[in-house]
């Protein structure tokens, strides 16, 4: 009722006030406030929202959190404006719109561009940065006669050098520039690492081949003398030979200070890249990962040996029993939504584990359990899990196969289907567990309308507020992963929660130590973290 009243009021308000004045928002309709988390992109089927973007538009395609909203460029162009289609995932998008200052720039992140064709590989290169004179750097402090003070950072930017259309290359190259913080600048020979060298090499070789073609064409057309062409080709040959063996990069010294950024000393050098066998910048990540694994296994072993840990109750999970019981009393089904993600998403696995526990409770009462699946693979697993739960409690005949089914893998079609199921089957209890996107509120509000008890659990931070407002209980983030252990009451599974707590305590400790060191002016601790690539 609330929905209808509010919906109608809003509808009238919109018709009377907003629409006649909404000419301005026509262009922006559907953009502002959308984030990547709103969409579920699978199998190429997604919501397509068209909007126009002209060069003097000032539309921010980032929301406040600077999350990127990708757009797929389409061929259409109406009256000099470009039509984009929104696609939810950056990796699938051809173009990405960046906001820089007041104008929108379109940067190329084409999946089919050369950069993505080759696998990412790291190279270690050694280069002497000649442009940086020794007297410029004094123990990490840059001394500048022009009063360029309050140095924040001195770094070297290395860019691959090619003979190719520069405007395109700048875009690509800037993405892979590397920076050396000044801590590292005590040696004169610098060791730097570079990604995607193969791509640059390929670009370089391609451009040289293009040049060769151009020379031959010019010779044919008579624009170039025979002797000249021969000399040019010979020169090209040596360059090609050189390019295959070595690689030239340009190095620029960048000084960042409170008053601005100063670059100087462009300097080219042929480098001899060597492929690295171990990603050394990941060593800290591995150290901590292995420490966490060992800790988890120790806690697990201790529990196996009989040690017990206290685990506090979680309201949403204590209510599961009651919620299932209510459905039985009312003679209505239980609906379980396992999230809109694939089996490789850990949240989906957590959801499947929870479903196993809930299905057992439901099976005992022989209450119907409806599970519409979003992903075909998840569907097959869910079917087995539910069937098994019924067998487990000794009621294999109560399992109704037609109640566990695949609905569709299109985000809003799925929401439409679930809404239909809710208003027709009138479930007494609805569970939402797993990964959710913008469709979450569509389903949970309808569930609320039909008077179901709703328990949600998700690690999608953007959807938690909507579940909180429309569900009776909401498991936030980590609680989703803890839920199956809670429901199973298996001390071995519960022991991993203790390990997670230890992990969080270590994190808190690192934050405290790190901030104290940072305030004391000791930067190596932060520097270790800064060296980890994004």
């Amino acid at each position: 009722m609330i929905l209808k009243r509010f919906g109608l009021v809003l509808l009238i308000l919109l018709c009377v006030f907003v629409i006649p004045f909404s000419q301005q928002s026509d262009r922006v309709a559907g953009i502002s406030g959308l984030t990547v988390e709103d969409f579920k992109y699978d199998h190429g089927a997604s919501v397509i929202i068209k909007f126009k973007l002209s060069p003097d538009d000032n539309i921010s395609l980032f929301d406040y959190d600077k999350e990127k909203l990708a757009a797929v460029y389409t061929e259409e162009s109406e009256d000099g404006v470009t039509v984009f289609e929104l696609s939810p995932e950056g990796k699938l998008s051809a173009y990405e719109i960046l906001q820089s200052g007041e104008k929108n720039e379109v940067a190329i992140t084409d999946e089919n561009s050369l950069l993505k064709k080759n696998p990412v590989r790291y190279y270690r290169i050694y280069a002497k940065i000649g442009a940086l004179a020794e007297e410029d750097i004094d123990g990490g402090k840059y001394v500048n006669p022009d009063g360029f003070n309050e140095i924040r950072n001195i770094s070297i930017i290395g860019l691959p050098k090619y003979t190719y259309e520069q405007s395109v290359l700048d875009d690509i190259a800037l993405k892979d520039k590397f920076r050396l913080p000044y801590y590292n600048m005590t040696n004169k020979e610098y060791e730097v690492r570079i990604k995607n060298l193969d791509d640059y090499k390929e670009l370089l070789l391609n451009s040289l081949k293009e040049e060769k073609k151009a020379i031959k064409a010019a010779l044919k057309a008579g624009d170039l003398g025979k002797e000249e062409a021969k000399a040019d080709l010979a020169e090209l040959k040596t360059r090609l030979k050189e390019a295959k063996k070595n690689f030239t990069m340009s190095f620029t010294v960048v000084v960042e200070s409170a008053s601005g950024i100063l670059t100087f000393g462009e300097y080219y050098e042929a480098i001899h890249p060597r492929v690295e066998w171990i990603n050394l910048d990941k060593s800290w990540v591995y150290l901590f990962s292995i420490a966490f694994i060992i800790m988890l296994l120790i806690v697990y072993k201790l529990t196996k040996g009989g040690k017990e840990y206290f685990i506090r109750p979680i309201a949403g999970l204590s209510a599961v029993e009651e919620a299932v019981g209510r459905a039985t009393e009312m003679g209505r089904p239980v609906l379980y939504i396992s999230g809109l993600s694939s089996i490789s998403d850990i949240a989906t696995l957590a959801s499947i584990n929870i479903l196993g526990q809930i299905a057992k409770k439901v099976a005992i009462y022989e209450t119907p359990l409806i599970v519409p699946a979003y992903d075909p693979i998840v569907f097959t697993v869910i079917r087995e899990v539910v069937r098994e739960a019924y067998i487990d409690v000794g009621k294999p005949d109560a399992f109704q196969e037609e109640n566990v089914f695949y609905l569709t893998s299109a985000q809003f079609a799925y929401a439409a289907g679930v809404n239909g199921i809710m208003v027709r089957e009138k479930p007494a209890t609805v569970f939402y567990m797993g990964m959710f996107f913008a469709e979450a509120l569509l389903m949970s509000e309808t569930g609320n309308q039909v008077g179901a008890i709703q328990i949600a659990g998700t690690d999608a931070i953007t959807q938690v507020p909507f579940f909180i407002t429309s569900c009776d209980y909401t498991l936030i983030g980590e609680e989703l992963y803890a839920a199956s252990a809670y429901l199973s009451r298996d001390p071995l599974l519960l022991s991993t929660l203790k390990a997670q707590d230890y992990g969080k305590q270590v994190i808190m400790l690192i934050i405290i130590i790190g901030i104290i060191l940072e305030l004391m002016g000791v930067h190596w601790f932060t520097y270790i973290l800064q060296n980890i690539p994004d």
Binding site: I278, I346, A416, Q500
Partner: protein
């Protein structure tokens, strides 16, 4: 064997792939990362679509056979699916005028026309209905009258006002009442919705996102490890 081999597979692959990002030997990068993620896993996944077709078909066929309730609608689902699939796969690429092609999935195919003119508007409408749902959700938490819901709603209201021109207008009006920028006591600051919004986003919002992020990471790590080491095996589905 039906259980042990999959469990062993998960353990072995889990351990191997744990170390794959650390190694950058060309063979490993080219094969274990590039080939496997870009080709092998995609090929394995392609076959799953067969199950989706089978399930949808079976569910609707059962309904039609039993003539249960609203079985007439089941025809619609089947027709929609079969039509789209047939257009994409079987239909010949005949030119049917208006620059359109009967078969295939190209930009000028009937398949794409149905997608753009039926599926897309319907999905966009579903999405846009969120505006109504958000209003009713807000109304409900307004009535809830507990401190958590109130905090949520007040913050939401401030952020909302801070994001529309109205917020700035209110602030400018209050600033005038206050006597402009020069006034000694800037009480009008409490109406600076944009500034407050920015503060809320930068401080409590970012802080909670980070805290939840740490927790979620811990949960994901523990769940991944439980799966690799076979502590959690409900994904196997059965007990035999």
């Amino acid at each position: 064997m039906k259980r042990q081999i999959p469990l062993m597979l998960v353990l072995t692959l889990g351990i191997i792939y744990f170390f794959v990002p650390l190694v950058s030997i060309p063979w490993v990068v080219d094969n274990l990362q590039y080939e496997v993620f870009n080709k092998w896993l995609k090929i394995i996944g392609v076959f799953a679509v067969i199950m989706s077709v089978a399930s949808l078909w079976r569910r609707n066929a059962v309904k039609i056979k039993r003539k249960s309730g609203d079985y007439a609608y089941s025809y619609l689902e089947l027709i929609g699916m079969v039509l789209m699939a047939a257009l994409a796969i079987i239909a010949p690429r005949w030119n049917i005028g208006n620059g359109m092609v009967l078969g295939g999935i190209g930009g000028n195919s009937v398949y794409n026309w149905i997608f753009m003119n039926m599926q897309v508007p319907m999905q966009a409408t579903m999405f846009s209905m969120l505006a109504f749902y958000i209003a009713s959700a807000a109304y409900r938490s307004f009535r809830a009258r507990n401190i958590e819901a109130t905090l949520l709603l007040i913050t939401a209201a401030i952020v909302m006002i801070g994001r529309v021109p109205l917020g700035e207008n209110i602030y400018q009006f209050m600033l005038k009442l206050n006597g402009g920028e020069a006034a000694a006591f800037q009480w009008s600051r409490i109406f600076d919705f944009q500034g407050i919004t920015q503060f809320i986003l930068d401080v409590p919002n970012a802080a909670t996102k980070r805290a939840i992020g740490f927790g979620v990471a811990m949960g994901m790590l523990a769940t991944s490890l439980k799966i690799i080491f076979g502590i959690e095996k409900s994904w196997l589905g059965g007990t035999e």
